[in-house]
Symmetry: C4
């Protein structure tokens, strides 16, 4: 539900430097910890930029030595951070196997791997995933809450989306095979998987134009396929909008602070509730938003 | 309304092997029947994959004999299944003429046909439609219910969608003829049907780029057509979202029959309310979802 | 509001053949008038098909004489229908200057024009507009009502759509000029109008690919423009969905038959109204839908 | 919230010509001020058209001298207007640093700049931004209100849109690097920034087709990326629709302040209700829209 938040970790010690550094690294509400987050995100963005620029040939030709050095510097830095994270936490494995722990590890491995396998540095862009930590620097709780609403709506629409995806895949297979029969390898539809790639590109209205129908019948089938895809695009939007409206309504109701029942503590009430719906206790009416 | 569910079929006999196999084949809630469904879906996916891979030239060149054998094996298997389905059911024709019965038949015919007409094997991808049986393996009832909500919303918006489709087709014809006059065969708009194909591709924002306007006037008309198409895409999405929100609300309400307050008559309660939020009266609790 | 309905026309005479033919031509609820509508729509579709096929070169080469004859036959037929429509109605000019009257005239003129200006036949596709008469053959009133709801929502969102269109046009002009400066005629952005055509094609996610940025800066600006366009597509959909939901709610409320106030006749009540909101009269509560 | 409205400016003097011209220039509700607005918008559109046409080579070759003159004429005119705006207002700097003041200045600078830097005239299209003044000529207040609702919904969804944008950028970086590894410079994916440009073009369903995957694996990853992009397009639409529905509801409610029933307290009434629909009590009528 809240994929951007840390797992609930506790410090390795109650006092001393490990407690001190735990607060800096894992908390986000004190000035030192905020500065740490800021520096970290800056380093992540810088290191991703270096990987990108290194792939541009004329920059690589000229600055390759510098970039190589910078890359190793960032890798050493992130390795130190990873080790520190493991050291100051009570149960290091709990961090290491959390989503963030895995991402943190993946973002330093490629450089070491590149000593064995040349070219592995490009995998360093996995570091980009760490950019999502940026939400911690911005006014944290609000954004996590908003992303919580978005994820909640996605989660609630998962079954409808699965039904939708199966239908799309089935249409793709049928359409791909049909166009392979109609147009054939001579017109670029060289086999059924290629035709299916074309069907996805067409139905999703991307339309690269690298493969196009050339017979009259093929063009007619394409037009029908496009109209189907055009109607189908309404489905996930409709599902998501309806679920999001529900999630937002509930989140909005939870956010009205004085609606909590003083007896049983229930928070979810309808907008103009005067009695708690769980225990029947009279609510103190708040001046609504 | 519920296109993925079987027609209501009854077993050919109340006891004996036909009853036994009826339960395995047509029910989905006992361990043997779930294993049967699992095996069947695995076989369907495998057979569709073989048809796809057989269309790739360099695989066909090398493995054509093996694939030919596998294809026949699956066909014999599915034929046996089809015959079994006919035998264990009380009214075989009812199954044979149901949607699933026709799909099951179509998914074995092409192999036999290919003995007469070479190339007919590609039609085997019709088997892909059988993949929709996968919903039975997953937690069945929930998915059928969800797809019921999706279909119900589609069904309710059918008239609006028809009005929409007629309008789109009319715009396509007019735009196609106009561009044929403006650009002409020299710029790829070789006749009105081709121009209409271009208009569909353009209005639906696919934009292959195989046919493009080259005169200033043609580009202006194209821009206007695109803006029209861009506004029109809002229409089916809007229709579907509004209908889906209605269907979801109703589906939610059908699940909570006794929510009306017996004292003040208020109908809008939160999902698990036990007391009326307006007058505090105890609600008779319904067996929730 | 109801663009597909006839203007309120009255017969030229109360009895006699003019009254008889008025009923056949202008009404849609008696067997003879429904047959007339059916024949008319069939003739319209056939004549549009002939115009389309005539534009295909290899068909034209072979069947040009036949098609020429068929075209004139349809034109004579539609001319007779047009004259009949004028004759049986009390105020012919009211019909002639209604939307349908103008379309009916435009759909016969091009053939006569082609005697003077060769190639004018292609304009005959204007006849396609007459296909919209098809709604009369289908269960008439329901469709007109549905299209009424769609039009009503469009009408209510007109101001928001205008604000939106002005914004899009302004972005198009700015983006077009910027890309003309960045890429220049060498890369296909040959002048500002062409660049604007490219900006529309790109922002609306059509993406023909006939003109594409080739410099790094141009590609960056394009990415930003696409993300803007991608967010902007949400705006008309959002506007239309919200307005349509409103219109449907109102239409639904109007459709609950026993909600009419027995004193003042007001039809629009909230779903659980017990008193008329205009005159205060107690409503007889209907068993809701 | 109301980006199209002027900042609250007061006249430089209470009487005399400065007061007179202040009314003409800054107000929009008297006949002279409406004529001034009309002339101004006409001049803006004409001057933008001249800049556009001047970029078309064959027009430039022939009319370049004329256009040069017209351009300077408009620049002098707009300079005079800018100076007048500064002179008649009490606090000129407040105007100069408002959004409109900056746009007004930017729309005259390029011509003067072109004396020093050739080619700077193309920047004159910034003038297009001034076209937004057109809303003042149309029935002013209604449009500003509508754009207020649109902006309000955008503003309320800003956090959700930011979360969404960060996610899209992260996916773009990962997908760009992955395709760079899979396809490589030989197939047009010449470096990671180019691959990211391709990923944006593909995910947003633009699909120019200037860079396309050619390996089987690359096509498979592309298909997955497209399906992700296809699902993701639902997110901003869903966010915006839900927020817009909220904003519209509130805007509607703000316009009907006295709709609460004084007897039973019911708040939901139809727009022009005069009696409470629950208890039949007469409502105090508000001056409706």
């Amino acid at each position: 539900m809240r994929p951007l938040s840390d797992p609930p970790l506790s410090p390795a010690a109650d006092t001393g430097w490990r407690r001190h550094w735990f607060d800096i690294i894992y908390r986000h509400d004190t000035p030192p910890s905020r500065n740490f987050d800021l520096l970290l995100v800056a380093a992540i963005i810088a290191s991703v930029l270096v990987v990108m620029l290194d792939s541009v040939q004329h920059l690589h030709a000229r600055w390759s030595h510098w970039m190589y050095g910078v890359e190793w510097a960032f890798t050493v830095l992130f390795t130190a951070e990873y080790v520190a994270r493991l050291m100051v936490v009570r149960r290091p494995l709990r961090y290491a196997f959390s989503i963030w722990g895995v991402i943190d590890l993946l973002s330093i491995l490629p450089t070491y791997l590149s000593l064995l396998v040349p070219g592995a540095q490009s995998l360093l862009v996995v570091r980009a995933l760490r950019i999502l930590r940026v939400f911690r620097i911005l006014k944290l709780t609000r954004y996590i809450e908003e992303s919580g609403v978005l994820m909640h709506a996605l989660w609630r629409s998962r079954r409808k989306v699965l039904v939708f995806l199966f239908t799309v895949i089935t249409i793709t297979i049928i359409a791909g095979a049909l166009m392979y029969l109609l147009e054939g390898p001579a017109h670029g539809f060289s086999n059924i998987p290629s035709s299916m790639y074309w069907a996805v590109v067409t139905m999703a209205t991307v339309g690269f134009g690298d493969i196009v129908p050339q017979t009259a019948l093929g063009r007619f089938v394409t037009s029908v396929l496009i109209l189907i895809g055009y109607s189908i695009i309404a489905v996930p939007t409709g599902i998501y909008t309806a679920e999001l409206a529900n999630s937002m309504r509930e989140a909005g109701q939870q956010g009205q602070p004085s609606q909590d029942c003083s007896r049983c503590g229930l928070q979810t009430h309808v907008a103009d509730a005067r009695y708690c719906s769980r225990c029947g206790n009279a609510l103190s009416i708040a001046a609504a938003d």
